[in-house]
């Protein structure tokens, strides 16, 4: 099948869209495999291949991610770019491929962006402080199944950044709320629950992400379907942290 890819090329501080016509693609290819094919051609033609992040290619590591025709990870719902197959496009389609864009996600090169801001949000409080060796028996604290399921649903976040890329406010609230919810609904996460909310949100804001306006754009592109209700939960925790708790 044939596709025309208009790909953002950037080396240095500015970039532009460059058009590549590919006419020997198979519908069974993944989108990233189509980029592989393009790169093989570019290299042999003496041109610079397109830089893009990817690793596991099975939709779990969160390393890949591009905007395809203005949609994070492309048109198929709940799917990362590496798991998006060309059978979801029509022969002859023209696709604009751009990197994630948000102020806290600077472009490194072509489609590669720096998402280290996410690590800093986790470092600010996205954990349970339990040094190795200090844990009680795993069955010491039963967890009601509904809580375990809610925690799991939120914990499925792969940290790809699609939520930020899609958000009209450049907000990382879905990412932040997913972790706060995962740990906040489990009994193991209770002691630090409010402190965690406060520290993670403070870091989120300090990194330059925007605030959430509940437009839901994030959850509609999230490859793991993290629900918007996690944000309401985080809001509640943060308000409680500031209004009733004295611990800092």
């Amino acid at each position: 099948m044939k596709l025309t890819l208009r790909i953002w090329r950037q080396h240095g501080s500015s970039g532009r869209l460059v058009e590549y016509v590919m006419d020997d693609l198979s519908p069974d290819m993944s989108f990233l495999e189509a980029l592989d094919v393009l790169n093989e051609k570019l290299i042999l033609a003496g041109e610079e291949p397109v830089a893009f992040d990817h690793d596991c290619r099975e939709g779990i590591c969160g390393m890949c991610g591009v905007m395809i025709n203005g949609v994070a990870h492309g048109p198929q719902k709940a799917t990362t770019a590496c798991q998006l197959h060309l059978r979801h496009f029509k022969d002859g389609d023209v696709l604009t491929v751009e990197p994630w864009r948000a102020d806290p996600f600077p472009v490194v090169r072509d489609l590669v962006v720096d998402r280290s801001a996410f690590d800093r949000i986790i470092a600010a409080g996205g954990y349970v402080s339990v040094p190795t060796g200090s844990a009680p028996d795993a069955h010491a604290l039963p967890v009601p199944k509904p809580d375990a399921d809610t925690a799991f649903e939120a914990a499925a976040c792969i940290g790809c950044g699609a939520c930020v890329a899609a958000c009209p406010n450049g907000s990382a609230m879905l990412f932040t709320a997913a972790k706060a919810t995962h740990l906040g609904v489990l009994p193991q996460g209770q002691p630090e629950r409010y402190q965690r909310a406060r520290n993670m949100v403070a870091e989120h804001d300090a990194l330059g992400f925007g605030g959430c306006t509940n437009t839901g754009e994030c959850t509609s592109v999230c490859p793991k379907g993290i629900p918007l209700t996690t944000i309401a939960r985080l809001n509640a925790d943060l308000l409680k942290a500031h209004t009733t708790r004295s611990d800092r």
Binding site: I60, R115, Y127, V130, K145
Partner: protein, 636 residues
């Protein structure tokens, strides 16, 4: 013609003698400690941030050591442990189904086809219990039952239900636990994180591992980092086969470079082929995707009785289906270990046709909701890749390279033969023998990182801190200039073939001759072809761009160059081991009904290879079995 020479035997000097149940306790007691105030001035480098590296860096940071952590990905959370689906074993016996530390130990030694060390495996089984506690306390959302207690399921090679899981994302959830612990230490200033940095060489000074040379993958800058000890947690080398279930970036460079600096490489030919992967769809294929072994709990594997049957799977009547695993291995059925299931599939079908993994019975017995609860995300993944709906049509699966049991040789302390160089997780060879059981990789990675390494590394660091180093030191300067030289050479070739084309060709060769089934003629052919191909690589490879920028082709070129050298050693190892065991099946050594035939009299040893630049030198470490008597592995 022999492709190797033999050197003196070696032995594990650090394992205590005496009762196996107390060896770990006694070793921890005999290991020297570094007092808490002094830990601040001991630096440890940890390369890799998967389950082993992430948990080790976090735990060493908690203990008060100064830790420098490195990963090639953009975040430590992306290491490929994240892709492990099925679960993690632990001898908790929560099911009261007869499990115990001894049974997990026994199953693992047997599952490894009697090519692993009893002491290491016993320790692994003991620690398994603590791992679950630790992970639960971190908030890992394991699957639970309605009573609020942890759920478990069965995995290949075991008749008890000891596998803890978090839907099909156990590796992800465990890794996030370790990653969060690591980020906590980064925040506390105890761990210095270097993401998007790739280790390109090991710095050895006066016989001690003292640091690493890394390339900043964004700027291209080459720099050195020094420490009192270096820990490699860089995973396995399955990508030598080009197509595998590994992440695209997984590579052998860190351990291969350490091997070239003197670290012994043990059992390189022991690779695991996973039976349930999605078959190849075309030449463009960039990787293979695993379907968790847990699917074999409820899915039934079959092929059409007539191999030339062209009907669609659902049109083939029950009577014309051959449930070959159930037929051949009635007591374990679909849950035989991976090596056995893979070879059975290979013998009965081929890459193009694959075999069917059918959930029709489970859907009838449990209902679609229960099936979705257990395997929903796996089914979705299958549908995304193939376009077929497993709720309606049986999955088509085929074996693929998945895990490498071989790795750098380490002693009981996980220390390589280079003082100060520790190797943990899949990067070492230690616990799985010739075949790893399902749900044991996560167990081993976390055992090494959370408990074993932090428990004994003090014994070495107590001798430190060692002398300060800088780039002017001759040994350091030499290493750095070698690294720069290699990069320069790769960029200078400017040939007419891409790195990918070489990788593909090498992978095909390895899959054909050193894959699921090996024989002398094929291995000799590979050993002739690999050096030719490697020579061609250095003559014709084309690496665009420069070294001073983000250059993904340059990264890949360096990795593939090392795969060429490793591939040769794998074939040498496979050729010399004239027996079949676990993942290593030599067609010359099989029983009349086609099962693997071990040769304990000649090959009950670990093959540890020394790099010389000429023919590799084999050092044998004899394996002693006091608690589990080697028998013919039977799952019938």
């Amino acid at each position: 013609m022999s492709f190797h020479t033999e050197g003196p035997p070696i032995a594990d000097q650090r394992v205590p003698a005496g009762p196996i149940e107390t060896r770990w306790d006694r070793r921890r007691f005999s290991a020297r400690l570094v007092n808490p105030a002094n830990r601040r001035n001991r630096t440890v480098i940890v390369v890799g941030t998967g389950l082993a590296g992430g948990s080790a860096a976090a735990t060493l940071g908690e203990l008060g050591y100064r830790v420098k952590s490195f990963c090639y990905q953009d975040s430590p959370r992306r290491a490929h442990s994240i892709a492990a689906q099925g679960g993690i074993n632990a001898a908790k016996n929560y099911r009261n189904d007869g499990d115990s530390v001894h049974r997990l130990f026994y199953d693992t030694v047997k599952g490894g086809d009697f090519r692993s060390r009893e002491s290491n495996v016993h320790r692994l089984a003991q620690i398994s219990v603590e791992i679950i506690d630790q992970c639960v306390a971190q908030g890992v959302p394991f699957a639970r039952e309605y009573g609020g207690l942890l759920d478990t399921r069965s995995f290949g090679g075991a008749q008890v239900s000891r596998t803890f899981y978090a839907r099909g994302q156990t590796g992800q959830q465990l890794l996030l636990g370790a990653y969060q612990a690591l980020e906590r230490q980064i925040n506390a200033g105890r761990v210095e994180m270097h993401a998007r940095h790739e280790m390109l060489d090991l710095v050895v000074v006066d016989g001690r591992a003292r640091g690493i040379v890394v390339r900043d993958l964004v700027s291209g800058e080459i720099s050195t980092h020094f420490a009192d000890a270096v820990v490699l947690a860089t995973g396995g080398y399955g990508n030598v086969f080009h197509l595998s279930t590994n992440a695209k970036g997984c590579n052998t460079t860190a351990i291969w470079r350490a091997h070239r600096r003197g670290a012994l490489f043990a059992n390189p030919c022991f690779t695991q082929i996973h039976p349930t992967c999605i078959p190849i769809s075309g030449d463009h294929q960039s990787k293979l995707t695993l379907m968790s072994e847990s699917l074999r709990n409820d899915g039934r594997v079959w092929v059409p009785k007539n191999p030339h049957d062209t009907r669609k799977s659902n049109d083939i009547p029950e009577a014309e289906r051959d449930y070959f695993l159930e037929r051949m291995y009635p007591s374990f059925g679909n849950l035989v270990p991976r090596d056995i299931a893979s070879r059975a599939a290979k013998n009965i079908s081929d890459e193009k046709r694959g075999v069917y993994l059918d959930f029709a019975d489970a859907l009838k017995r449990l209902g679609p909701l229960a099936v979705e609860e257990r395997y929903g995300n796996l089914f979705e993944m299958y549908q995304r890749i193939t376009g077929d709906d497993p709720y309606k049509v049986p999955m088509r699966i085929y074996p693929a390279v998945h895990y490498t049991m071989g790795g750098l040789w380490v002693d009981y302390d996980l220390r390589s033969n280079i003082p100060g160089l520790y190797v943990i997780g899949e990067a070492n060879f230690s616990d799985h023998g010739a075949n790893r059981l399902g749900a044991s990789a996560l167990m081993q990675g976390l055992a090494d990182g959370y408990f074993v390494l932090p428990g004994v590394i003090g014994d070495y660091l107590a001798d430190g801190p060692f002398e300060d180093l800088d780039d002017a030191h001759p040994a350091v300067a030499d290493t750095v200039s070698e690294v720069r030289g290699r990069i320069k050479t790769l960029l200078a070739v400017d040939g007419d073939r891409t790195v990918e084309s070489f990788h593909r060709e090498l992978g095909r060769l390895m899959w054909d001759e050193c894959g699921m089934e090996r024989n002398e003629a094929g291995l000799r052919k590979a050993l002739e072809r690999i050096p030719e191909l490697r020579e061609e690589f250095w003559q014709r490879v084309k690496v665009p761009g420069s070294g001073a920028e983000l250059n993904q082709q340059l990264e890949k070129a360096g990795r593939v160059a090392d795969f060429f050298e490793l591939a040769e050693l794998m074939c040498v190892d496979a050729l010399h081991r004239e027996e079949s065991c676990g993942g290593h099946f030599r067609s010359e050594s099989q029983t009349p009904d086609g099962e693997a035939l071990r040769d304990d009299a000649r090959f009950s040893y670990v093959a540890a290879w020394e790099f010389t630049g000429e023919k590799p030198v084999l050092h044998k470490e004899e394996l002693v079995f006091e608690h589990v008597q080697p028998t013919t592995r039977s799952y019938a």
